[in-house]
């Protein structure tokens, strides 16, 4: 049976799933219920200076009928008094000694302010502190949140102030609203941070009302960028987690990384773990469905680990990191071709349209006599189910022309209908980097490139 326990920067947790610092961790009453449901830890909603919130603070993006594909918020840090939060944190930690209770904090960029809040948090018995350098709205206008996270020097300076006094682990939470997230990550590491967490929310505007021309949602007629999260941001988050986990300076320290950004299912969770995350934080999925999702997160993860014979999370954590590479290091001689399983194919012909209009025109429509036909070739007098079904042509890939771009695979609505089969290219493995070193003219001159293609047998139609 899989063991889901983790130890992250010295903080123990019965499973890797923590509630991210957000509305689901606003109060002790909520967190009691979350821990009863089985959450391994919670990062308390950011405490700090006084704030006032607005209505219509959450806006969601819906796609094709899927609610909350992404959610945007302009909610600020906790709007409950500091004393109340500190009292409740103490109470929660006392009631749940085996769970990870981490407190997110954000104060004015002054050494004293940080020193004070660190001591106040440590007094509660909390297991760790998370420095919120990510909040992209409101707080950043007051010089906090992402205003810090976007400047590696500030990030380093403030982390130093905290590390000078902190006795419990300190996690620095990074903003994705920056050209390269690795720089603030390194700054935090240089300042001695115990761990990193990413990604915070992404700047966004959810939408516009086409009748009023106001933003959607509208805050009394106005609106602006807020922080974007949820399933839609997962690929962005995976990339940033991989970039930070693979960074030399982060690895050398080494500091663990708490991964978050669009985790909704145990499968998402496994992906973050395979890219090196040491713990996982979740918010949007809970905002959508409630604390109860923890059951399948743990159950699905444990069942997957059992099926792969992994006893602990450490057994597979970071396994994919070595496979993350730059384009220049990809094998240019690797070749795959799309193959359509005609027994599974329902003939929606979306692959045909995609290949024909947006890729490389290598799928044909084949009629029952085996002849390639044009779409819409049926007789206008034809009608009825029987004829429409019987005469429907079958999409088929011309494998010799297929560049293996994988667009058809991506649009196909049927599970396991299109396979990207590896086919021998007949060429020796070579990367762009190797080619550029061995044959620089090929990478610089079109004529040399054409000769090279001819020589090794690369046909681009």
């Amino acid at each position: 049976m899989a063991d889901l326990n983790i130890e992250f920067a010295g903080i123990k947790s019965p499973n890797p799933f923590w509630l991210a610092s957000a509305p689901p961790t606003n109060s002790s009453a909520q967190i009691h219920r979350a821990f009863e449901a089985g959450w391994g830890g919670a990062v308390w909603k950011t405490i700090g200076p006084p704030v006032l919130n607005v209505s219509n603070r959450y806006g969601a993006w819906e796609y094709g009928g899927q609610k909350m594909a992404g959610i945007n918020n302009v909610e600020l840090i906790s709007d409950r008094p500091l004393e109340t939060n500190l009292r409740e944190i103490r109470e929660v930690k006392r009631a749940w000694p085996d769970r990870a209770v981490i407190v997110s904090a954000m104060v004015e960029s002054k050494p004293d302010a940080w020193r004070t809040i660190v001591h106040q948090i440590e007094d509660t018995g909390a297991d760790g502190i998370e420095l919120n350098y990510g909040c992209p709205h409101g707080m950043s206008e007051r010089g906090m949140g992402s205003a810090v996270g976007q400047v590696p020097e500030y990030c380093e300076q403030i982390t130093r102030w905290v590390m000078d006094g902190a006795k419990i682990p300190v996690i620095v939470k990074l903003t994705p609203n920056i050209t390269n997230i690795v720089y603030p990550a390194r700054a935090a590491v240089r300042a001695g941070a115990s761990a990193l967490s990413l990604i915070n929310t992404i700047n966004s505007i959810t939408g516009i009302d086409l009748d009023t021309f106001e933003t959607e949602p509208s805050i009394g007629g106005r609106g602006g960028h807020g922080g974007y999260a949820g399933p839609a941001v997962k690929p962005v988050a995976l990339n940033m987690v991989a970039a930070v986990c693979n960074d030399e300076e982060v690895r050398k320290a080494p500091v663990p990384v708490s991964g978050m950004g669009g985790i909704s299912t145990w499968k998402d969770a496994v992906e973050f773990l395979l890219l090196g995350a040491g713990s996982l934080q979740i918010c949007t999925a809970v905002m959508h469905y409630g604390y109860r999702i923890i059951e399948d997160l743990c159950d699905g993860l444990a069942n997957w680990m059992d099926s792969k014979n992994f006893r602990t999370i450490a057994d597979f954590r970071g396994r994919t990191l070595s496979r993350i590479a730059d384009f220049k290091d990809f094998n240019l001689s690797f070749r795959a071709a799309a193959r359509i399983d005609e027994a599974r194919c329902i003939k929606c012909n979306l692959c045909y349209a995609a290949c024909n209009d947006a890729a490389h025109q290598c799928i044909d429509l084949i009629d029952s006599s085996g002849k390639a036909v044009q779409p819409y070739a049926w007789d206008a007098a034809s009608n009825g189910r029987a004829e429409a079904v019987a005469n429907r042509p079958q999409p088929r890939v011309r494998e010799g022309d297929c560049v293996g771009c994988r667009l058809c695979y991506n649009v196909c609505p049927v599970e396991k209908c299109i396979e990207m089969a590896e086919v021998p290219s007949g060429r020796d493995a070579v990367t762009w980097d190797q080619l550029a070193k061995a044959r620089p003219e090929v990478t610089e001159d079109w004529e040399a490139m054409q000769q090279y293609r001819k020589a090794v047998g690369i046909k681009v139609h």
Binding site: G64, K347, C348, L350, N383, R385, A388
Partner: protein, 438 residues
């Protein structure tokens, strides 16, 4: 508005809610060169109109339907979608096909309820067209010509337009109001409809040919034919039975034990009317077996659930009348012989004598008489139906025909009539365009 639960023949399906329509529209895969479009006799671009529902462009969705089919509101309700678009849906094999008919009705309901005119009309051509018959074929042809700029007059012998959609489709599937709304929409395109005008009576074809540039005949078919059995005049015509259930339901007398003769869709409709309007027992009597029924399989499934008894291989031989009242049917057993011209096995009398089926009301729905008018008008016919060329022109130059009155082969249906009217309109336009200056 949702039909009242107490209305026994109220529309079978409620309109989709906005939420249902959105979920269903999003479920559509947006197939390329979609089979539903091919299967639709009028070739409505189904994925296009459905995706417009998904994007919230309901006006555009309705326009897409109207491009191919001006009677989209009727077709959305009465089409045997299982045999057409939905039957061809790629999701049908392993999942559930998209509810294309109900989505089409959703888009149609939108423009009708909002009173939107989405059809553009070309500048007037100055040419005049006469159409005889205000059923689906005539209305479709009229609307298609009107949008091309023709001045169209439709002559209808009945009091109301709409043909079978108004009089002959049970309101469970299409309420009278839906059909009349559609007639009004065609009128808004500039079509003039003159009711209580009958070709062969107060209108002559020669006169129409003289006064109009072209004529289209959408005459439909006749009454239910005679069975030639004893007590025939005690048998009710199935179409009249349905008509009364729509037009004057409160005055309608439905028997306690009703026998419906026939195995087609109209027979099923008659049995439904009888059952829903209070008959204690309804029996359908068909001389062949379930396999040979011309009713659609889904209709047969429906009527079984209505609690109607089926008597197959049974041939009525006479109505038993006592004291002027129907008390039953005499019938004999049949057996199946070799296939006939339609490929269905014929029924022939089997051994054994007559037996009695108790009934106090007998309704026949055994098809419709062929258009008798055709020969009187001097038109060439094919097996009793009006003979037309590929372009829907009859033997008389400038006279076109479509709909049930030309349907020699395959089952007559509203959507086929709509397509005939549309194609005939295109032929008329082509012919008149070629002779513009001639």
């Amino acid at each position: 508005m949702e039909p009242l639960k107490t209305e026994p023949l109220g529309e079978q399906f409620p309109p989709l809610t906005a939420q249902e329509a959105l979920i269903e529209a999003n479920r559509c895969l947006f197939c390329y060169d979609a089979p539903c479009t091919q299967a639709c006799p009028t070739h409505i671009d189904v994925p296009r109109f459905i995706k417009k529902i998904a994007t919230g462009n309901l006006r555009g969705s309705a326009s897409t339907i109207f491009e191919a089919n001006l009677l989209g509101a009727t077709c959305a309700r009465v089409c045997p979608v299982q045999e057409l678009c939905e039957g061809a849906c790629v999701l049908g094999a392993e999942h559930k096909p998209i509810m294309i008919g109900r989505l089409q009705r959703y888009a149609m309901d939108y423009v009708y309820s909002q009173g939107l005119n989405t059809i553009r009309i070309a500048p007037a051509t100055g040419r005049k067209i006469a159409i005889a018959g205000c059923g689906p074929a005539g209305l479709s042809c009229a609307g298609e010509l009107a949008r091309r700029g023709y001045q169209v007059t439709v002559f209808e012998q009945r009091e109301l337009g709409g043909g079978l959609s108004t009089y002959g489709i049970i309101s469970l599937r299409e309420p009278v109001q839906a059909s009349l709304e559609e007639v009004k929409m065609i009128e808004r395109l500039g079509v003039r409809i003159e009711t209580r005008r009958e070709l062969g009576a107060d209108l002559s074809l020669d006169d129409l040919r003289a006064r109009f540039d072209a004529v289209f005949l959408g005459l439909g078919l006749g009454a239910v034919p005679a069975m030639g059995i004893a007590g025939e005049d005690h048998i009710i015509d199935g179409l009249a039975y349905i008509e009364q259930s729509k037009m004057n339901q409160s005055a309608m007398k439905v028997g306690r034990r009703v026998a419906v003769i026939g195995g087609g869709n109209t027979a099923i409709d008659c049995a439904t009317v009888a059952r829903r309007l209070g008959a204690e027992h309804v029996v359908m009597i068909y001389r062949r077996s379930a396999r040979e029924m011309s009713a659609y399989p889904h209709e047969y499934e429906f009527i079984k659930k209505e609690g109607v008894e089926m008597r197959f291989l049974t041939q009525p031989t006479g109505v038993i009348v006592e004291g002027g009242k129907v008390v039953g049917l005499r019938a004999i057993r049949m057996e199946l012989g070799p296939p006939d011209a339609s490929g269905r096995r014929v029924a022939q009398p089997s051994k054994g004598g007559e037996f009695t089926i108790p009934a106090d009301q007998v309704v026949k729905a055994i098809g419709q008489e062929k258009p008798a008018l055709a020969e009187r008008l001097g038109l060439a016919t094919d097996r009793g139906y009006i003979k037309v060329a590929r372009n829907f022109e009859t033997s008389m130059p400038g006279v076109f025909a479509g709909g049930d009155c030309i349907r020699v082969k395959s089952a007559a249906s509203t959507v086929m009539a709509v397509q005939d009217g549309k194609l005939a309109a295109a032929s008329i336009h082509k012919k008149l365009s070629e002779t513009r200056n001639g």
